[in-house]
Amino acid sequence: MLRYRSSSDSRPGAERLAGSVRGRPSALLWLSTAVLLAFILTPIIAIFWRGFGDVQIFDRLGDPVVRESLRLSLVTTGITLGVTIIFGTPTAYLLGRHEFRGKAAVSTLIDLPMVLPPAVAGIALLMAFGRRGVLGPALSDYLGIELPFTLAAVVIAQTFVAMPLYVRSARSGFEAIDDEYMQIAATMGLSRPAVFRAVTLPLALPALVSGAVLTWARALGEFGATIMFAGNFAGRTQTMPLAIFESLEGGDPGASLALSAILIIVSFTVLIAFQWLTRSSTARSG
């Protein structure tokens, strides 16, 4: 977890564990680990194998399908991330730093989209904001807003599915901060906004950033809710995962391999960034 530890906090548990686990791991442990690794690595290697073998993915990177979906993915996930941070941070702060009636219910509801099958999320959004949905007609009649099959719909689908990851991580970041730091800052004369900016926010920042990384990665891979709610229109709602699906269906594995290769590299980078963030925050706090 991302947590600042006070410097006096030693971890006797970790030492005891390291001390008691001795001897070499048995061959059986190595074997099952090797099987698992092979299972994970084979498909990933296969993409690059095929990609560099008969389809030449570098040549396909310039394809309109690839470029358009890449652009759309970057734009929509960027907006999703922004919306998530703007609405998710205050919510995470409320949940992490305050007690109130119904807190457990609020927290469960916010987690709900995480366990909901994306297809169900897409249908649900359609039923709410779609043309024949509960709010859809009102939106189009009074505000002139047509959501389904637009870029906005892509953002809504991504946000719906990916926001809980950010709220969870940010909340635990806020929760982990010792009250003492805020109290001290208050006695030193820092106003409440100043305490938030100078103490609370920086202490929670590693958790906020790793939550943002997870949310962005989830949004980038979002498929089910998007195709249900926003549809699959090239240049308008066709993000990378949708483009992969379509080009493969349409008998053009080249574009889907190129997009997949990009997504694999991005995912790997995200994972390493996440680990680095987690590690650097605990290293500095001891």
Partner: protein, 376 residues
């Protein structure tokens, strides 16, 4: 000057504190759970009292009747919590510069940083200005916390067991530094500890707090020599405690105890009533068993057998059995070696009545009964 009359009712504890603190160090001493931390949090504005009034340096910061309750930001207290409270995400210098720039003083960033460096230099941390808390030792962290408080020029210092987690030599040094630091600031200080040795070394006065109530306030000597009740005597490790009964013997008042009848100073207790005698270990004279005793004509004389001898450096403490009880005595190492004290040897103890402090009443509720467990 700090004037307090505060009450707090919580499900777990009821606190009532009346204290006036001058420009001195008042040690708030008591067992854990006595309400010491809650008390200073009420002063700092971090905990809302249920009743009473608090005046810091002539300014009313809390008054339940007048509905005055200043937020912590407007109280100008120097609060140092138990674990130093040095921000882990800032360097030593940034920790001090932050309140200077963003707190009451609103200095520019450059000035704040310069002042921070100067203060760190003063506290012997000039080399550590760029270090993060995780890279600093416990003693260094406490120095940063003190330097940060000093930068703010508070009207009162509130420190909560600041040295509890530190090693012996570092603690001793920091206690001395804290006394100098308080004198330099010239403001009242409340210093929490549950270590009576620390209380005696750091405090000008000690307030003993038990279960939310202040039991006794006084100079260190007064508390050690004349504890108001048995519980205070035990907490302050005042010395040998003997529970007994007041009796008349040949026209004199004595207390019958497991170590024998003890002569006491003039005593208004009725014979037959219960009382506890408290005798400081340094008040008892040790002699060879054959020694003539004219010098201690009115003292109680007891024959004892040495059980254990412990050398504390500048003091030697000797535990001996007398009758059904035990007595601990401290004397200088020179005296101990002149007397040739060793385990199993018979000695004679003289207890002048002036060193016997009498606490009337039945021993016992509250703390478990126990015997004085040796010197300091």
């Amino acid at each position: 000057m700090l004037e307090l009359d505060l009450g707090l009712r919580l499900p777990s504890i009821a606190i009532d504190v009346r204290l006036d603190v001058d420009d001195e160090i008042l040690v708030l001493f008591g067992p854990s759970g006595a309400g010491k931390t809650l008390t200073i949090k009420m002063i700092a504005g971090l905990e809302r009292p249920s009743r009473g009034r608090a005046v810091i340096n002539g300014t009313v910061v809390f008054d339940a009747d007048e509905r005055i309750d200043r937020p912590p930001q407007q109280r100008n207290t120097g609060y140092v919590p138990q674990r130093s409270g040095v921000f882990p995400h800032l360097t030593a210098a940034e920790n001090i510069a932050l309140p200077l720039a963003r707190g009451r003083q609103r200095l520019t960033r450059g000035t704040a940083h310069e002042q921070a460096l100067a203060l760190l230099e003063r506290f012997g941390l000039g080399q550590r200005a760029g270090a993060y808390p995780a890279q600093m030792s416990g003693g260094e962290l406490q120095r940063v916390a003190l330097a940060r408080v000093m930068a703010l020029q508070p009207d009162v210092l509130l420190v909560d067991e600041p040295f509890a987690a530190l090693d012996g030599p570092v603690r001793a040094g920091l206690r001395r530094e804290f006394r100098e630091f308080q004198r330099e600031l010239g403001v009242p200080a409340i210093f929490i500890t549950h270590d009576i040795e620390e209380a005696a070394v750091v405090g000008d006065r000690i307030a003993i707090m038990v279960a939310g109530q202040i039991r006794q306030v006084g100079r260190t000597r007064e508390i050690l020599d004349a504890p108001v009740d048995r519980e205070v005597a035990m907490l302050a490790q005042s010395g040998n405690l003997f529970d007994g009964t007041v009796a008349e013997r040949g026209g004199e008042t004595v207390i019958e105890t497991p170590v024998g009848p003890l002569r006491v100073p003039q005593c208004r207790l009725a014979p037959g009533s219960a009382a506890t005698a408290v005798i400081r270990p340094e008040g008892i004279r040790v002699m060879r068993e054959d020694r003539s005793v004219e010098r201690f004509a009115n003292a109680t004389l007891l024959d004892a057998v040495i059980q254990d001898i412990a050398d504390h450096g500048s003091l030697t403490s000797v535990t001996s059995t007398v009758g059904a009880g035990r007595i601990t005595v401290t004397l200088s190492p020179t005296a101990a070696s002149n007397l040739g004290l060793e385990r199993g040897k018979r000695i004679r103890l003289a207890i002048p009545p002036a060193w016997v402090h009498v606490i009337p009443g039945e021993p016992g509720e509250g703390l478990a009964r126990g015997r004085y467990d040796g010197g300091r």
